[in-house]
């Protein structure tokens, strides 16, 4: 089982050591012996992951009706990443997200009724219908926004981390970005700036192997983790289909940043279940690859198998969460469909706080 062990030497503790772990491409997975987190946390994590999956699967259907304006980019397949990381955060901590941002928003505590209404372009949306799927933001919950520009988020996270450091809030800032965004100069510049300024920031490269319709095998030169390590930043490679592995690695990364030791880099690998956007026929990936991702790399299935096999949680309570998520998403869709569109006057409001 070459991919089933810690990438760190036994007994090493990042928080006690200044040693930077060497880049590793083995997965980071906790041994299954003890309960990896409190029962309530496990239930909460599963609830968040299932809610994201239900939200995205339902949107895949809803976009087919033609009633959702534009297109959306679905996060299904990557739920363990947003969930395992955001479990460590509170509202004082900020995240930046990507065009594939629904999962990050849900995991960060943004209300799904507001999100769904936003995606439908309704006045009741998180951003009053003026942002849409690619710009869902909720600063009260530390969500700096999904972002329509690939690589747009990491510089903003440097700023949010600078605020936390300057005002001594105890907060950290997390940049979620994809393997595609790691080819943008903004991302590289942000890793450097975060090190130079010693910021309480964590950079999370969610590697789904695809930038739009192009494989990272084509687009990414060298190794992703090695790029971050080259800045002198501590790094961990994480199996993004394993919630427990993500949660533990993120715990180390966030504690490190929160303690004022500087930025940390996580490379989280997880598949993208849908095409780049809804409506993308996704013909550039083989049927075998897509089927295997759903069969072998489903973070929800892996979580269920693990907690049921080790009798940490019961099947009934997981099924109840599944049913509850479906109900919540259904209610969000119904409410969004019934909600009013923004009034005409909204066209010209909120361009400025005040414009003479």
């Amino acid at each position: 089982m070459p991919n089933d062990e810690l990438s760190l030497p036994a007994g090493s503790d990042l928080l006690q050591s200044d040693d930077v772990p060497a880049p590793s491409h083995t997965s980071y997975r906790r041994p299954a012996a003890a309960a990896p987190m409190p029962r309530a946390a496990m239930l909460s994590a599963y609830r968040t992951m299932r809610l994201i999956r239900s939200f995205e699967d339902r949107l895949a259907v809803e976009t087919g009706t033609g009633d959702v304006p534009g297109t959306v980019h679905l996060y299904a397949g990557q739920e363990a990443s947003a969930t395992g990381i955001c479990m460590h955060l509170t509202d004082r901590d900020f995240i930046s997200s990507t065009h594939r941002g629904h999962g990050h928003a849900i995991a960060k505590g943004v209300n799904i009724d507001g999100m769904m209404a936003e995606i439908y372009g309704r006045a009741t949306g998180t951003c009053r219908g003026k942002g849409g799927s690619m710009h869902i933001a909720d600063l009260d919950h530390g969500m700096l926004g999904a972002n329509g520009i690939v690589g747009g988020g990491p510089p903003l996270v440097c700023g949010a981390a600078l605020t936390a450091k300057t005002l001594n809030t105890g907060g950290v800032a997390i940049a979620f970005f994809g393997d595609g965004a790691f080819n943008q100069g903004t991302t590289a510049e942000s890793l450097n700036l975060a090190m130079v300024w010693n910021l309480p920031a964590v950079f999370v490269c969610e590697d789904n192997g695809m930038g739009e319709a192009t494989s990272s095998k084509f687009a990414v030169a060298g190794e992703i983790t090695a790029r971050a390590a080259a800045y002198g930043m501590p790094t961990l490679d994480v199996d993004g289909t394993d919630l427990f592995a993500v949660h533990e690695a993120a715990g180390k990364a966030i504690a490190y940043a929160r303690a004022g030791k500087g930025p940390f880099f996580l490379h989280v690998r997880a598949p993208r279940y849908y095409g780049h956007y809804t409506g993308d026929p996704d013909t550039y990936r083989s049927d075998e690859e897509k089927a295997a991702a759903r069969e072998d790399r489903d973070c929800l299935t892996i979580f269920r198998d693990r907690v049921l096999r080790t009798e940490l949680l019961g099947e009934g309570e997981l099924d109840a969460i599944d049913a509850e998520a479906a109900v919540l998403v259904d209610a969000a869709v119904k409410a969004a469909r019934a909600a009013p569109s923004p009034e005409a006057g909204e066209l010209t409001t909120d361009v400025y706080v005040r414009y003479a």
Partner: protein, 347 residues
């Protein structure tokens, strides 16, 4: 009232706001200079010395040198602004906009609208602009129309030390992203500047010279040029000119511009920006739409040609509008209609 240079006025405004509000921080390349090096700290105080001495008063937690990384630090300033700081970022030359435009126009400028009115982005980006220093095509442009084009940004172009201080303090206290442009040829200009703190509201033009015959609308360094032209017109040609300095291009004080044009019926617009889609073109269209029937002559624009800024001093001298060009344009407005040929524009 004490006389101070443009540079001193800005430095004083920055310090007063940093004393007043601990959330105000300065971010930029060599805003102190010497970080990590073996010699003098605060060696530069900004490439033009505007932030000199601030390090000594406030320390490195309030004035942050950056690597040469405009995308990251302008973006960081935007991210810091939307999460609770009030950063003043220094973009050494406005030409460097080319490597950080996304963070300004797609991020900072749009947060409030995209987020349904729930964001405030109290960000100031100071940048130098303008030709005349032998700095050639990538360090001399007057790119304020590019910012003016973008909803969500405010754009300030002070023309005097007094205005520079008052407008900068206003910019720092403003809750929207503000682009604050300083002409690099004007840092040593002297003027009366009060010691105490004061603000000048955006969207309010100043009218430094009033006259009944013609209105000259000018931006930034061109205000100084227009004032000289107005003086010569009065002395040599008995033409009384009004000079209007809008001071901010966004918001733009349309009322003052239109009032002056309606009173004089003749107008020349002087702008150091490129002629196409520039401020002169923008204001011309405003006047044509809203004051057409008050015009006694065509609207004339005095701008550089539609070319990059040249290097050779002999060419650069031809590039930036001189008082003589404004003077000639104004005089032509008083010619017989048949003789009136607008200055040839090199499109």
């Amino acid at each position: 009232m004490p006389r101070k240079s443009f540079r001193q006025a800005l430095n004083e405004g920055l310090r007063q706001e940093m004393r007043r509000d601990p959330r105000v921080v300065i971010i930029g390349e060599d805003v102190t200079g010497g970080a990590g090096a073996t010699g003098e700290q605060d060696a530069w105080g900004g490439a033009f010395g505007v932030t000199k001495g601030i390090l000594g008063e406030f320390g490195r937690s309030r004035i942050l040198d950056t690597p040469i990384t405009e995308s990251a630090f302008i973006g960081a300033a935007a991210g810091a602004a939307v999460t609770g700081l009030r950063p003043v970022a220094e973009l050494m030359f406005v030409d460097f906009l080319g490597v950080c435009f996304d963070q300004i126009i797609n991020q900072a400028a749009k947060f409030r609208y995209m987020f349904g009115g729930k964001a405030r982005t109290p960000l100031v980006i100071r940048a130098t602009y303008g030709a005349g220093s032998g700095s050639a095509s990538q360090h001399s442009q007057a790119l304020y129309p590019l910012f003016t084009h973008i909803p969500g940004l405010k754009v300030v172009i002070p023309s005097t030390p007094y205005d520079a201080k008052g407008l900068l303090i206003q910019a720092i206290r403003d809750d929207d992203p503000v682009i604050f442009l300083e002409n690099k040829m004007m840092y040593d200009d002297m003027g009366e500047v009060p010691d105490q703190s004061y603000t000048i509201p955006f969207g309010e033009a100043s009218v430094p010279i009033e006259g009944k015959d013609v209105t000259i609308i000018a931006f930034g360094r061109m205000v100084r040029t227009a004032k000289r032209a107005a003086e010569r017109l009065r002395l040599l040609h008995k033409i009384e000119a009004t000079v209007v300095d809008p001071r901010t291009t966004s918001p733009l004080d349309e009322e003052t511009i239109l009032d002056c044009v309606r009173k004089t019926g003749r107008v020349v617009i002087a702008d150091e920006a490129y002629p196409r889609c520039g401020m002169a073109a923008d204001v011309s269209s405003l006047i044509a739409e809203k004051a057409f029937f008050h015009l006694k002559a065509p609207i004339l624009k005095v701008t550089p040609p539609h070319t990059p800024v040249p290097f050779a001093p002999s060419l650069e001298k031809l590039y930036v509008p001189l008082p003589s060009r404004i003077e000639a344009a104004v005089k032509s407005l008083f010619d017989e209609p048949a003789k009136l040929v607008p200055e040839r524009t090199a499109y």
